[in-house]
């Protein structure tokens, strides 16, 4: 006797607690098993690229805040690098260090959020998330000190950073680094080797390296598949050429490895922050640039950084006006979703949520 079964199509999202925003997946299940996946985007599409064509170069910085809104600092940095490339601007040394430092702090904050929600998706009742937020809040406090905002920072500007750090920033940063160690250790103890986390994530949703590369996957997701490609190492920008750090690589390409790579990257980021504090020297923080920039007509630039989610690129084309003629944003979150079908089909509903968490997408960036 055979039981008659029917596939069942379910919309996961756009209103679902674990799709990290307004992502929607139309999933067909056979029981709990996924047999078909169709990602549907655009619920947060704000036309950033079109808006950028009507803003001047400095105003666009505020738009970049809203791409990956948990790592605005890195978005600002990526955009400013592109503009500087476009204009041929030389950035003062101190500004480079400040950017590097803040970008790494932001990477820690972003990864903490990624890890926290990954574990939330695994079904913890928010405990690791709260521990992660405990540290993240302190980073945001530092950012508030630096530039008056916590999320939408607009700290980097073409030609440097908008202002030097206040005097009381440095002791506060030291205090944060001192506290962070034990706080993060607690989080690691809670989850890093937890058996339930292991059985839930090891060997689940495998991403082989060739599929990852072919699918334009970058960032921690790529590194978890076994390739230590990090733009900070490969094409150092700002002060990264003077930083000593390792690139965590895992070879499994499963959910656990993606999680593990993020945890290790936090350690490396803290290492970079410490080096920045040691190496930074007094000096100007912004090149002598006017508020309104006018690059050469026909100039174009592709500025890329290793953002917390992967390769974030800004392709700018100028027509000589005060705003870019075209501003294309290469968002890592969208590109990492290319492999979503490969990752999900054949796994179960519960794995799907965890896999989405392990990709650490940000819908502000996916939809732009």
């Amino acid at each position: 006797m055979s039981i008659r079964t029917e596939p069942m199509t379910v919309n996961i999202g756009p209103q679902h607690p674990s799709t990290h925003g307004v992502f929607r997946l139309r999933v067909t299940f056979d029981g709990e098993e996924i047999i078909e996946v169709e990602p549907i985007f655009g619920y947060l599409h704000r036309g950033t690229e079109k808006l950028a064509e009507e803003r001047n170069y400095t105003q666009i910085v505020t738009l970049t805040d809203r791409l990956d809104y948990v790592s605005s600092m890195i978005n600002n940095q990526a955009y400013c690098l592109a503009v500087e490339q476009l204009m041929g601007l030389e950035v003062p040394q101190r500004a480079k260090y400040l950017r590097t430092l803040t970008a790494e702090l932001q990477r820690v904050a972003s990864h903490l959020m990624g890890i926290g929600f990954f574990l939330q998706d695994l079904g913890t009742l928010g405990t690791p998330l709260m521990y992660a937020f405990r540290s993240r809040e302190k980073i945001l406090d530092l950012f508030e000190m630096l530039c008056g905002a916590r999320i939408t920072l607009s700290y980097s500007r073409p030609g440097g950073v908008f202002f030097d750090a206040p005097e009381d920033f440095w002791p506060a940063l030291d205090q944060f680094l001192a506290d962070f160690h034990s706080e993060f250790q607690e989080l690691e103890q809670l989850v890093l080797e937890n058996e339930i986390v292991m059985v839930r994530t090891r060997g689940v949703s495998l991403l082989p390296l060739d599929v990852a590369i072919n699918g334009s996957v970058s960032g921690p997701t790529l590194r978890a598949s076994g390739l230590g490609w990090d733009w900070r190492k490969m094409a150092p920008y700002d002060a990264y050429d003077r930083m000593e750090f390792d690139v965590p690589v895992a070879t499994g390409g499963d959910n656990y490895d993606r999680f593990w790579v993020r945890i290790q990257e936090i350690h490396q980021s803290i290492r970079i922050v410490r080096q920045c504090i040691q190496q930074i020297e007094p000096g100007p923080t912004r090149a002598d640039v006017p508020l309104v920039l006018r690059p050469e007509p026909g100039a174009e630039a592709y500025g890329r950084v290793e953002a917390s989610k992967g390769e974030l690129g800004f392709y700018l084309v100028s027509d000589g006006g005060i705003s870019p003629y075209r501003c294309k944003i290469r968002s890592p979150s969208l590109m990492n979703l290319t492999v979503i079908e490969h990752l999900l089909v054949g796994w179960r509903l519960a794995d799907m949520i965890v896999t989405l968490g392990s990709l650490d997408i940000n819908l502000g960036e996916v939809d732009r």
Binding site: M8, V10, H16, P17, S18, E32, L119, Q120, D121, L122, G123, T124, L125, G126, T127, M130, Y131, R134, L190, V191, L192, E193, N194, E195, I196, V197, M198, V199, R200, R202, L227, G228, W229, D230, K233, D246, V247, P248, V249, A250, T251, Y256, W260, Q264, R348, L349, A350, D351, I353
Partner: protein, 403 residues
Amino acid sequence: MDCVLAPDNILHDTLLFRVIYEWVGQLLPCGLSYAVAGIAIMLLLVNGVLLGAGGFSWLERRLIGRFQNRVGPNRWGPFGALQPMADLFKLLFKEDLVPRGADRIVFTIVPVAMMAPVVLMMAVVPFAKDTALANLNVGVLYVLAVTSITSIAIFMAGWASDNRYALFGASRGVAVLISYEVPVVMSLLGVVLVAGSMALDDIVSAQTVPFLLVQPMAFFVFLAGTSAELNRTPFDLAEAESEIIAGYHIEYSGVKFALIQATEFGAVLTSSAVMVTLFLSGWSGPFSDYLGWAWFLLKIGVLAFIFSWVRATFPRLRIDQLLAFAWKFLLPLSIINLFATALEVYFLRNDAGMLTTNDLWLMAGINFGVAFACLLTFGTLIQDKVRPAKSLTAASLSSPEVG
């Protein structure tokens, strides 16, 4: 009209019932008085469970708050203790929505069907000396039978809601409940063997040594099984917040949702009560003739704390892992426990078929040994699946070689 309860009446041992029955019996005919006393007791029980559920919901939220290094509800009342009231009133005044495609009748019955077993379970649990509502001689069986109603209620909810998430939740819930019923029953057999009775009162009095020590494996299996049946982390698949949002009760709102929530929190308390009775020697303790209820509540509190603690700490298992856990780990454990206990009882009991306190201590020692051996064996067997994280080797962290 002096009504006197016959000694063979099932409710004869229930002091409170008898007092009410005899007092009301002075005014009303005996039959009516019986009914009045019954309803009074029932109201007491239902409201007691609901109140307990409210209290526990506050306690758990406070506890989890502190586990997560935050405060938890603290706005209304001292330490936020009136928060459950606020929640209740909010939910009472909310619109009671029924989805268009839902099966209205079944949909409406569900909250009641879920509430019923929780309340019914309390009927046989002795709160203190001579305070069980009904001292059934098949108390354990009754508890097990009554809890099985939950699975039907869950499936009704999932089916009637006309929602695919609810269906997921329901099918998961039923699978879990059916699977965990087996090891739970098997683990209780050990307890029954040692106590030599199925009446909860007798089990309490048999615990000169708490059965937690005599039957550690049974306790573990029962604890895990109960967690699963209560849908609590790490076994909260049926309502997995991050996956299927609320599972079978996704479509419930207003009063119905309040009832389902109350059931969930109440069920933790009643299950704890059963566990206290079976494994933690119930209401007995120093001065238990007068302070039995205090001991009882204290022990429930300890168990509830453990439930909250576990809930605050662990992630959730996947459905196949959860079922594998039941069939491949808990069931063998409970069978081993049953056989070990049976052999021990067979060899240790005296001519009257009774076990002395010394026998119980001996059994505790043996069973702990068995438990440790089992843990070691099973731990080795599943080591592959949960091997620890890669250590931070130079190879995985060195500057990358791209090839």
